[in-house]
């Protein structure tokens, strides 16, 4: 055991190097050829398959599984990439238990769906390992499209546009592409630099220029883009983090879970990453789970997720909740933060109020609970920062504080499309962002050809 495992406060190096390595290894190790063959044999090749219907990118799942079963993994990969060029990442991070695998008829038949996600990873890994490129650019159209944000939506849009022969420029605020794939997802879901490898794989089609460190509203305006390009796609995600609205929130040790995860994902040495001995995470979504589990894996002794509603209301899937529980995270429900308790400006605890639903409305009961905490993570959602859009042109219409689009991704502004987490009505899933980016690209292509 490393020194400092039980050190109070926020400390780095709680574990040994081996423990970090073990804790952050692949959550679901890849299937080998035999395992993939056995699993692929379980697929019934359903008609109008419910799994495909459940997939936001509509991958022909029975076909790609049949291709695995017939020892044709590259053909299988192509079937996946035809619909979802980020099929490798989606295989790792999709909540398959609420999408394709929930719809699998074997879930209904025997409560044990075909492991679609792991099979998808098997096929896409095979293609990436072989560096098999399936797509070529069409003849250059001479049209230019600007994309804001190199996350899943922007990358999927860029790839499809490049396929159609358009010149694409991606402007990315961060120093690296990938968006939440690179900065936002728990490390054990996508280890070994996979996010960057996937970006490289899809960029190999050519015709896509990436400019890093370029932020909308800081380095360029929407007006610049509409002036210089034939079309614009907005896929910048959600830059804002919702505040707790609790007293004393500014204390040291109260952090955004999103920022902490981004920091962790970029850390070269996990031992250098400080974590509290007692950590409280406020929220009920995937980000809360990712932050809580990783805090435990970094050596935090007590990690508690506090969510203001009941288990049935949590956005995190049952699988994710079970994962957190199996890693020793305590999940408490019906608690909302009221006050951060600080010692010399550093968080030492958190006061929470019990909540209840009364006539369908959530309210505090007046009873409180105090938890000791060296570190508090806010994971109660992110928000779209609309300010960056405005000023340079006619403004882009919003809906519920996010960008309003039609079914093809068109915004209220001519020649401007949007997709991913920044648009209204989405489910904030990687796979949905990919679908929106791809479909917007097709819409842009039709508009430019017309």
């Amino acid at each position: 055991m490393a020194d400092g495992l039980y050190a109070d406060g926020i400390a780095a190096g709680r574990l040994s190097g081996e423990e970090y390595e073990k804790n952050f290894a692949d959550l679901h190790p890849p299937l080998d050829r035999h395992e993939a063959a056995v699993e692929a044999d379980r697929c019934y090749f359903c008609f109008d398959a419910p799994c495909t219907t459940a997939c936001p990118t509509s991958i022909d799942i029975p076909m790609f599984i049949r291709q695995i079963a017939t020892d044709n993994p590259l053909g299988s990969a192509r079937t996946i990439f035809d619909q979802n060029i980020l099929g490798g990442m989606c295989a790792r991070v999709c909540p398959t238990e609420t999408l394709c695998e929930e719809a699998c008829v074997r879930e209904e038949a025997e409560g044990k769906p075909v492991q679609i996600g792991r099979l998808q990873r098997y096929a896409t890994d095979a293609a990436m390992e072989a560096d098999a490129q399936f797509y070529e650019r069409a003849a250059p159209t001479g049209k230019s499209v600007a994309i804001v944000g190199a996350g899943p939506a922007g990358l999927a849009c860029a790839h499809r546009l490049a396929m159609h022969g358009h010149d694409v420029t991606i402007l990315e605020a961060r120093p690296k592409p990938g968006g939440l794939n690179e900065f936002g997802i728990a490390a054990y879901k996508t280890p070994n630099g996979f996010a960057q490898a996937e970006v490289d794989y899809l960029m190999a089609i050519g015709g896509i220029r990436l400019e890093e460190g370029k932020a909308l509203g800081r380095d360029f305006s929407l007006g610049d883009l509409t002036r210089d390009h034939d079309a614009v796609f907005l896929g910048m995600g959600l830059a804002g983090v919702n505040a707790l609205g609790a007293e004393g929130e500014a204390a040291d040790g109260v952090e955004s879970a999103v920022d902490y995860i981004a920091h962790l994902r970029q850390a070269r040495d996990l031992a250098s990453l400080p974590v509290g001995r007692r950590v409280v995470v406020i929220g009920g979504g995937m980000t809360a789970i990712d932050a809580a589990v990783q805090a435990r894996l970094l050596g935090a002794e007590e990690v508690t997720i506090c969510y203001r509603r009941g288990q049935e209301h949590m956005n995190a899937s049952a699988f994710e909740q079970d994962l957190a529980a199996s890693k020793g995270v305590t999940i408490r429900h019906w608690l909302q933060p009221t006050r951060i308790i600080a010692d010399n400006g550093r968080v030492s605890g958190i006061e929470l109020e019990y909540t209840a639903l009364k006539d369908g409305r959530l309210s505090g009961t007046g009873e409180t609970l105090t938890l000791r905490a060296d570190q508090v993570f806010k994971a109660i959602g992110q928000s779209f920062e609309a300010g960056v859009l405005n000023g340079s042109t006619a403004s882009v219409e919003l809906e519920g504080r996010r960008i309003k689009t039609d079914a093809e991704g068109r915004t209220s502004m001519p020649n401007v499309w949007a997709g991913g987490d920044c648009i209204a009505g989405g489910d904030d899933l990687t796979v949905s962002a990919v679908a929106q980016g791809r479909d917007a690209a097709e819409s842009i292509h039709r508009a430019l050809a017309g």
């Binding site: 056995v38 044999d41 019934y44 359903c46 008609f47 109008d48 419910p50 008829v105 209904e108 038949a109």
Partner: protein, 436 residues
């Protein structure tokens, strides 16, 4: 408890499960293990004439096809008859029979098609006190190129001739093993019967190439870049074997001739089906080669349980019971009408019944009803073909339900006739006979 003791042409065994003449019965070591496991009898792997034994290939001998989860469905082999010394085999046979007096021990034989050759080997086998002999007229590879095995079995006159020689030269019961590599299995069966055989056993293996290696374009199993057709067996051949058994069981010329059924028997149920079509005993090989000898426990216990449940006291209550129900197509009742019915509680909504019917049959199963994924039979279109039952992954989810006499067949718009009527009297039959 059902009594499954078998008495087959005077050969007694504690159960009807014998191991067929094949690699598992080539030597005392294996046969001893089989008897310890509970097998009722063994047909010792085929002996050839005295002299230097045959040689086998030294590369792969078996090829296979598989179903889902790599379950072995069909096996082929290019192994020949025993490649061990004749006298070594005879000594072992004698010892094993002495060790296991209650088990059936039959010796498979294949010598050149000359009377002298048979006259020479029969006394040697008799001396072992084995219970009987089986004439290998079936082996489809290698030996047939030398005028033996299937080369004899494919010529009824030779079959009759060799059987007669054996009957004239031994007191042992003679079982004639038939090859399926012919157009009409009744011909060699009749010939064996005419020659005086005590029983026939079938089927031997089927000429086959299991697969082709697509890297070197050679058939599997591949011996130094070349392959030869081998003998096919295993679950995949069971339907062919059942039909051939039934053909002999219902042929007036061979009716009553004892049959030892062989071909893809893997479970007690397979065995019961062979018995029902007229087999007195069954012979197993591929299932044992796939799973080991222990499977016989399931076979024995399963057969007994089924017989107890159905009130069949002895094998004689089962043997041949299904044979009278095997008939020619022209005698099938055309007034028997069934419709598929899908049990919605069991349906898992895979939709395979729909697409099979929609693409390849009669467009008689819905995919969507009131905007919902729902699979239901459209009786107006259903011809009762049973394809949906066969492609459904859930056993028992789809049933074929017969319409009662007088009920409306929505497809034809006519009521189901209460009487039996077949093609021979059907108005569309140009050579119909007047109904009696």
């Amino acid at each position: 408890m059902a009594d499954i003791r078998s008495n087959f042409v005077g050969i007694k065994s504690p159960n009807p499960f014998w191991l067929a003449s094949a690699p598992p019965t080539d030597k005392a070591y294996n046969v001893e293990r089989a008897f310890k496991a509970g097998w009722g009898g063994v047909v010792w792997k085929t002996l050839g004439e005295e002299g230097p034994p045959v040689v086998n290939v030294n590369g792969p001998r078996y090829g296979a096809i598989w179903g889902a989860d790599r379950r072995l469905l069909g096996l082929n082999n290019i192994e020949l008859i025993t490649d061990r010394d004749l006298y070594l085999n005879l000594r072992e046979i004698k010892q094993v029979k002495k060790n296991w007096p209650d088990r059936a021990l039959i010796v498979s034989l294949m010598v050149p098609c000359e009377e002298q050759a048979w006259k020479a080997i029969l006394p040697l086998v008799e001396e072992t006190e084995a219970d009987g002999i089986e004439l290998n007229f079936g082996c489809p590879h290698g030996m047939s190129e030398r005028g033996m095995g299937a080369a004899v079995g494919q010529v009824p006159e030779y079959v009759e001739m060799v059987v007669r020689w054996c009957k004239q030269n031994t007191r042992m019961p003679v079982i004639t093993k038939l090859t399926p590599n012919i157009t009409d299995v009744r011909q060699p069966a009749r010939a064996a019967h005419a020659g005086g055989t005590d029983a026939v056993s079938l089927i031997n293996t089927i000429n086959s190439i299991t697969s082709v290696n697509l890297d070197n374009f050679a058939p599997e199993p591949t011996i130094d870049g070349k392959g030869s057709h081998g003998g096919y067996c295993g679950p995949a051949v069971k339907p062919i074997a059942l039909n051939m058994v039934a053909e002999i069981a219902r042929d007036p010329q061979t009716a009553g001739l004892p049959i030892s059924g062989i071909g893809g028997i893997t479970t007690w149920r397979d065995a019961a089906e062979f018995l029902a079509l007229g087999s007195g005993t069954v012979q197993v090989c591929t299932a044992a080669m796939t799973y080991g000898f222990k499977i016989v426990e399931e076979m024995i216990e399963g057969l007994e349980n089924w017989m107890d449940a159905k009130g069949h006291a002895t094998l004689d209550d089962v043997i041949g019971r299904a044979a009278p129900n095997v008939t020619d197509w022209q005698y099938l009742n055309l007034n028997y009408v069934t419709k598929a019915r899908i049990d919605q509680d069991q349906c898992i909504k895979c939709g395979r019944c729909h697409i099979a019917c929609e693409d390849t049959s009669h467009q008689a199963i819905t995919a969507m009803v009131d905007g919902k994924r729902h699979f239901e039979v459209i009786e107006e279109e259903c011809v009762g073909c049973n394809l949906c039952v066969n492609v459904c992954p859930v056993e028992g989810c789809i049933d074929m339900v017969p319409l009662a006499a007088g009920a409306l067949d929505k497809r034809t718009g006519e009521k189901v006739e209460p009487v039996y009527a077949n093609w021979t009297t059907h108005p569309n039959n140009p050579s119909k006979v007047a109904a009696e």
